[in-house]
């Protein structure tokens, strides 16, 4: 059935006419939702207990102390290597210096570390055009029916 170019004419709309389409055509195992809630409650309670007791806390503090020590050592080593002190500067070749001074997040493409709902480039997309037309009050249905 061809779609009319007149958006005001009554025409078949399967997504509106068929009410069964809004129902989810899947079942779930019996008792699933109640069980799922119990599992999550048990998991969150177990984690809370682990963090609250001595046996859970001690390893956490050891790991935290080890991590801090590692970071301090790394910073101290790199800082020493990069210092302007003549004793250490000669230790780094030019390529090493570039490596240690390069940002981990590329200055030219910072968006690469962010997850965006939009893929692709910054070019104007069809959606941008339709959005502009809608916001300016134009009737877009004529264009979308071509």
């Amino acid at each position: 059935m061809k779609l009319s170019k007149d958006p005001m004419s009554k025409r078949k709309d399967i997504l509106t006419d068929r009410s069964d389409l809004k129902e989810m055509p899947f079942t779930v195992p019996e008792g699933y939702f109640a069980e799922m809630s119990s599992k999550v409650l048990a998991s969150t309670t177990a984690r809370a207990v682990e963090m609250g007791t001595g046996s859970g806390r001690k390893p956490f503090y050891y790991y935290a102390a080890a991590a801090v020590t590692a970071v301090l050592l790394a910073v101290g080593t790199v800082g020493g290597l990069l210092s302007e002190n003549g004793d250490t500067q000669h230790m780094l070749s030019e390529s090493d210096y570039v490596f240690f001074c390069t940002d981990l997040i590329p200055a030219t493409a910072p968006e690469t570390v962010y997850y965006s709902y939009y893929d692709g480039s910054d070019d104007i997309t069809d959606e941008d055009i339709v959005n502009y037309l809608i916001e300016s009050g134009a009737d877009v249905s004529l264009y979308l029916n071509e």
């Binding site: 069964d20 055509p25 959606e127 809608i134």
Partner: protein, 183 residues
């Protein structure tokens, strides 16, 4: 728990220190809606189950910091939507290693789903939805199935109402034309 608590009551009980009871009420209020929302993205009960549990674990961890800048509804939906979209991103990468597109993976899951109990038109609708880009898929799921307002969807996605309207119009028209060609 006989009657579902309102969002205000859930947060009030939580702040009064009845945290587990409040969290239980929150899960009861939202578990089904979030389950079906996630299911429309990932097309499998097992994956949905994992992601739903992860969603609620994150909700539990983040509740202490929830300030009420958004409603509880849009906040939990946002967490669930991000879980689903991140899952699809990982599926897409895994699919590339096996030379299989995400569309193909999701369509296979729908075709072989043992929990499917609908008709062919419903199956084709979900397959058409699986083929949508993620923005269109998100807004179509929230608007067509969950009947959320554009303002609520904007709070969930961080996208402007105008862009959402455009995306929904695209998605709706695309799916409608696909289904009307076949049925």
């Amino acid at each position: 728990m006989e009657k579902k608590w309102s969002d205000d009551r859930i947060m009030s009980e939580y702040r009064d220190g009845h945290r587990e009871k409040a969290f239980e009420a929150l899960m009861e209020a939202y578990r089904e809606r979030l389950y079906w929302h996630i299911r429309r993205f990932v097309c499998s009960h097992e994956d949905t189950d994992d992601l739903l549990q992860e969603t609620f674990v994150k909700v539990w961890s983040s509740l202490p910091g929830f300030r009420g800048d958004s409603s509880l509804l849009t906040w939990v939906y946002r967490i669930a939507t991000n879980e689903a979209l991140n899952f699809l991103r990982r599926q897409k990468v895994r699919g590339m290693l096996h030379a299989e597109s995400l569309d193909t993976i999701l369509n296979k899951k729908i075709d072989t789903d043992p929990w499917f109990n609908g008709n062919e038109l419903q199956r084709e609708l979900h397959k058409a939805m699986a083929r949508l880009p993620k923005m269109q898929k998100t807004v179509f799921s929230l608007r067509y199935f969950d009947d959320l307002s554009y303002k609520e969807i904007s709070d969930i996605t961080g996208v402007s109402v105008g862009s959402l309207k455009a995306s929904y119009h695209h998605a709706y028209t695309k799916i409608r034309q696909e289904l009307e060609k076949k049925f």
